[in-house]
Every structure is written in structure tokens, then in C-alpha cells.
Symmetry: C2
Subunit: 248 residues, 2 copies
């Protein structure tokens, strides 16, 4: 595959991936972004195909998505992605979602760490033999959304739901699938809310890994009329992830 600093991948808002407003579910948009990141990393020599035999894997630390408009059913669109910066233990990757006619649907920002699969510790991204991610950085392409920020929550968040995690929740690594977290969080609101309040921004920080069979609890706190935070914890109290949602 060709090395391109900015990757551009076409996707379709498939009918079974759309909600009752005929708009792509946010979880599927997240999935398309993660796919685009994966394809682009592979095309540039630092994909899973290269890393797994070297006992390393990318671990998603944060994902933020901000949509002006969610593509409607059957819309073809592109997810563009590029590396914004590389630090010792983290790399920032950006996304732009653009229609085939050039209209911009929205943006995304993700933060990844590269984890040593034997020690489970982050490895120095600037010192990996055969990989020069710094060389792939794109500095001059704007990502017109706010950076992911620390999601602050008080101790007053209300327990809204506790669920079991099943077979369909689990990804190839045996952890709760990053995309499934998004689905479960959106499911905390009734359909009547989603009908009138399209989701403008979704942000998630992955703190620890959930496993199959974990019972996970969702604690919600309202920040203002349209902004909410959700903390997801295992039954033993371990925080797994923390989200912030802004509806429109």
C-alpha cells in the first residue's frame, strides 16, 4: 500500500447501522474512524500486522468525535486521518469526515499508546526499531474541534444501570470492545430523547480494560441542559472509562 501522510477511506452509512432518524449511529462512526486509523497505520508500516509479531499493540486511550451532521442512510463519505503529533508515550491522531461532494460532516481526535504485550507497559514511541512515526506527522492540516479534555466528575454521579458483558461485547483481545462502550452509553437515554437531541460530541477516555463476564455499572452526571458525563466502573469499583456527551 502507498505511504500517504493523510489517509482517506470511503465508507457507507449502511441501513442497519442507522437509527430511527435515518442517521448513522455514533458507535458505527467511531468504528469507521478506528478502521481508518488501522488502515492508515498499516499503509505506513506501523499497523497491527507489523506490531503483533513484535509483541506490541496500539491501545486506544481517548476518542473524541464532534459531528456537525451525522451522515444519513446510504450516504457515502470519506474518513480522512493523519498523525498530528508523537510524544514519548502517546500519539495524537486526527480525523475529518467529509462527503463525496466535499461537505464536512465532522471531526475526530484519538490518542493512542503502544503497549508491550509482555510487560503490559507503554513503550517509547520514538525508540522502536524500524518505525519512524515522527516522520509521518502532518502539522498543517487543521482539525476544527476542541481537543479532548479531562472529564471531570463529582462523587454525586447517579447509578443509572448495571449490565452484564457478553460474547458480542468482547473484541479480538478479549476486552470489552471500544465501540460497544459507545453503544451502551447511548442506550442510557430513551429513544424519545435521541429523537429530539442529535448527539453533537462524544468523548471517551479508556482507563482500564473490561473483560467478558464483568458486570459494569454506568454512573451519570448532568453538567448542563445538554451535556452529561458518564463513568463506567466494574463491580469492584475499578473505573473502566469515562465519557462526556454533548447533545444538540
Amino acid at each position: 500500500m502507498e505511504k500517504e501522510r493523510i489517509g482517506k477511506y470511503e465508507f457507507l452509512a449502511e441501513p442497519f447501522h442507522c437509527d430511527f432518524n435515518y442517521r448513522l449511529f455514533m458507535g458505527h462512526m467511531g468504528n469507521h474512524m478506528l478502521n481508518a486509523a488501522d488502515f492508515h497505520a498499516t499503509a505506513n508500516g506501523f499497523g497491527m500486522d507489523y506490531l503483533l509479531p513484535n509483541r506490541r499493540a496500539w491501545v486506544l486511550s481517548r476518542l473524541a468525535i464532534e459531528m456537525e451532521e451525522m451522515p444519513t442512510m446510504y450516504t457515502r463519505f470519506y474518513v480522512e486521518t493523519w498523525v498530528e503529533s508523537v510524544m514519548r508515550f502517546f500519539t495524537n491522531r486526527n480525523f475529518r469526515v467529509v462527503g463525496t461532494d466535499g461537505r464536512v460532516f465532522g471531526y475526530g481526535r484519538a490518542v493512542w499508546a503502544l503497549v508491550d504485550l509482555d510487560t503490559r507497559k507503554p513503550t517509547d514511541l520514538l525508540l522502536i526499531p524500524g518505525i519512524n512515526i515522527a516522520d509521518r506527522v502532518v502539522k498543517d492540516k487543521p482539525c476544527l474541534m476542541e481537543k479532548a479534555s479531562r472529564v471531570k466528575m463529582s462523587t454525586q454521579a447517579e447509578l443509572v444501570r448495571t449490565i452484564e458483558t457478553y460474547y458480542s461485547d468482547i473484541d479480538i483481545n478479549g476486552h470489552v470492545n471500544s465501540v460497544k462502550y459507545i453503544e451502551h452509553v447511548l442506550d442510557l437515554w430513551p429513544g424519545s430523547w435521541h429523537k429530539d437531541h442529535p448527539l453533537h460530541r462524544f468523548e471517551v477516555a479508556y482507563v482500564a480494560e473490561g473483560h467478558q463476564g464483568d458486570r459494569i455499572s454506568f454512573y451519570r452526571e448532568q453538567v448542563n441542559d445538554l451535556t452529561f458525563c458518564v463513568r463506567i466502573s466494574r463491580e469492584d469499583g475499578t473505573e473502566l472509562s469515562r465519557c462526556q456527551l454533548e447533545f444538540a
Copy 2:
């Protein structure tokens, strides 16, 4: 789009659509087949784009999938699809899943009715102005799997789980998503079972439509060592669908 009696559409076993065995989840295979059917119907003039303005919609009545092998992560494959037969109120459509190298992964069979959205009744498929589905029938392409059969269940099936249906479960029509049923049914078995028992055949008959907010119950009955039936009912007892699963 070109009118082709046999449609052929390329898909990818995306990483977040694969289970911990690195194999595509059956629900996503079902989704790819339904997409292929939709693309092919559209290319042949009887897709949703033509039907919805005419107040008609295809309603999936049965879906059966039989896999010799489920594609592994990153595998590109084709779903071929064609109309096997057209009766007054039903049409049979077949699928073949084939690798880019020609190997056959498996087959599928689906039965659809065309419903009048105003009366909610099936319409005569041979009497729709401007649509000649009978003309698109392919008689000479084999579908090497058993036909969908009536799933017989006794009154002894055991209640295994009751779940609420949420926002993510609901499709564009406001009904429980056909693909989500497959996920929920597979979730009745623990990961340890799925680890050792790849799903060979999945069959579902959709009896009535589930809606958001319905509490749905899963009743399971074992037919033999590796074959099970599952009945899905609403809390008022209405049967929504009935499945048969054969593990390997």
C-alpha cells in the same frame, strides 16, 4: 447501476467486527448479506429507493446462514446474491460467501415479503406496476445448504434471559434490528462455549416486530449435543422470532 442477475459485493472482516477467535461475528455476516440483498435489489429496480415512495417495504421473514468457515480478521470476501424464486407473497433470495481466491466460506438463504406500509399487509409480488422480479430469477446457480425449515419447539423451552430493548437495538423503521436479534441470541452462550464451538448454522424466522422499550425474553431448548432452538417473546407472550443454531 448495472442490472446483474447475480450481484457480487466485496466486504472486509473488520477487526472490531471479529470475536476473540479472530472470526467475523455471525451478526455482521448477516448484516453483510442483508446489505448485498439491498444493493442488488436497488441495482435491479426494486430497492428501497423505489419502494418507499410507493409505500411499500421489504420485510425479512427468514434468514438462514450456513458457514463452512467464518472469514478471519482482515479477510476480504465477496457476498454473491441472486433471486432463486418468486411466489405470490414471498421471494427466496440466496447468498454465497466466497473469498477473493475463490474459496467458498458459506451460503445463505433469505425469504422476504413485500409489505404495504399503509395496510401492513403483504402485497402480491407478481402484480406490482413497474417491477418484474420474476424476470430476475436465477435458476441454475446452486445454493449448497439446506433450506430453512420450520423450527419446531415444545412447550418445555427454558427461560434463559429477559432483556430490555434500547436505542441501539432499534432500526430505521422503529423495530428491533434483525441483526441485533442474532447478537442477543448468541449472547445466551458464555464465551467459553463460543471458544470451542464455532457456529456452523444460524436460522431465524421473524414472526412479529419488536419495538423500542419492549422487554423481550429468550426461551431455549436443546435439540441435540450441538443444536439448539431459541424462541424470543415479548412480555405479553407474543412470539417475535424463533431461531435454530447448530454449533460445530
